[in-house]
Symmetry: D3
Subunit: 136 residues, 6 copies
């Protein structure tokens, strides 16, 4: 019996969309106001989903207290109240779109969660825009 | 790396459930108060999901500004503040259930979005009833 | 000790905005697409708030089971799946704006709830538009 | 054309996490405050998803009035305002984790819904923790 | 310039509605399934509102980090994962209705927050039932 | 009959909390990670409430299309995708706390809305922190 357990988390951060190999005017053309060099920001809402067998002793796929702790240490402490472009090494050259942030989060979590479980990450950039990455 | 990008939208419309090949009494029997000939209505909440590869230059699967514009032109302008039975050609003979509306929306969007991407439509008819169509 | 108890409810209905003393073109000018003669509709979300003293025997301001029953009988059964303009007598000549609907709801509930309690009605016409009426 | 129809429901219940083959101290170690012998409780939010072909006569995958009735009779009436450990037979020996509750709900619904349709259950234990079971 | 700052919090608890001066059958008559002697439970969502002048040096009415800490220590640690009737002294004889819980919370917070500020407590017992207490 | 009409809006922005008359270390002591010199950001959700008499001809307190336009021009276009400290003149010396932002928004809207109506502004900085300013 495979069940998916989901845990919500959140962090606030500043960013700008920017391809460092493009001119400023091309960045402005493609990314519009999201390319503002002074940054803007978001309340990112995150859902981490882990799919696996229910352990018969605990009734858990994964102890949510442990999942909550992993998300806090690996993701919230790492991204919260940060400037993604300036302060998060992964985005020194990678454009911090919601798509790319979801991949970075998935990669950071993958190494901390039992490889027998499947992992999926849903990231809300705004209440109307969100992305899903499943490592495929 | 395949990521799903999701965009929420909404429209308000009137409709009634009605099979034009049935008698009024059979419509009333099957559809209950939803068959009211004077119509009722809903705030439809829509989530459009596009799954594809992240483009390395932009970090986007699809520019959300473009997706937002397609949804506005193809769906919101077409359905918003309309009587679905009376004013939307697709529902002249097709019963405007949430299921059928989701298929009509999917078909209208499919022709506007890169065929290499998968498309999925989630439509909330009320906060407690919603449907999902993936073109399968 | 005065406490406010709140109960949420909902109903779906069709309506159009229309002043029956105006020409069709003036209605269209003022109310735009909301004046569509074929109607549109909404999922109305309602919050009924009753403020009064806590009864020492029950710990209740008002039994929520009774409030829920009053709302169902007076409001949900009366408005749900209806065409407000055509089927609700109060709106034969009164324009069914959210403001006017909230006043009609308040008046219908006021006669059913202990006059020693204050009554307030919040009505969401859409997730982004809502009104509040307190009988003042 | 396969569409998924979803219906939300809810129930309130008390429970404690407890493996009856373990000592109290091991239960306390593993389940923390969730093992409180005096119980705690939740507002469980449930989403039942049924995937099948749209019936051409009705435009329905499944009549939502019938799905709502099945959920009320099989799930809400069975779990609501109950102590899961003490009053729900399935949890006399099975630990009432969200994972196990979702499997019990799925099994109870499976026998009531057309076997040609796929069934999925999403259960929110809190606004931040939820599980999904698809019978796989 | 008086501004209201609001902070959301939550806790999960079991309770039953019970007037200890009444017979069991009268409790069952008045409180229905809420009187279940085996308890049921809720996810309580809490909003604490503090109204006061903006301090010109900080731009704060009250530092939200401090308000968050007071709520955690006084309310969340005190109520979370508890049986309100059995484990919270205030409810040994007081019926733990939402109304009475909101008054107990308000009284506990009042002594910790600057008396020059007004205090209001909103408590959701379910997504559809909530109460507000302002100490009046 | 006085009714309050409410309209929701939103904008995304970067900011840092900073008193320009204090040393960096005092700013860090008081504002913690909110003082990060590289900025962080939020999805600000705004509710604008206008209270007045229902106009008998329209059934409106205020045409929501006009209120929506005022909010877009005065607030969304002014704050959206901006760095509040660097790009919004009001915050060159004023600390952009939620409290101060709500006062700036209220002042900007006050001059555009009929003075016979009362005006209130609710601003969510995060889903758990929000402020209310009524011009008092």
């Amino acid at each position: 019996m495979k069940v998916t357990v989901n845990r919500k988390a959140h962090f606030n951060a500043a960013h700008r969309l920017y391809n460092c190999e493009w001119s400023d005017s091309r960045n402005a053309d493609v990314f519009g106001k999201c390319a503002n060099p002074n940054y803007h920001g978001h309340n990112y809402e995150l859902i981490v989903a882990v799919t696996g067998e229910i352990h018969p002793d605990t009734g858990f796929v994964m102890d949510m207290k442990i999942l909550k702790k992993i998300i806090r240490e690996e993701i919230e402490d790492y991204f919260d109240h940060k400037n993604l472009n300036e302060e998060v090494p992964e985005f020194k050259t990678l454009n911090p779109t919601a798509e790319n942030i979801s991949v970075v989060i998935w990669n950071k979590l993958r190494s901390k969660i039992d490889l027998k479980s499947e992992l999926s990450v849903t990231l809300y950039e705004t209440p109307r825009n969100f992305v899903i990455y499943k490592g495929e």
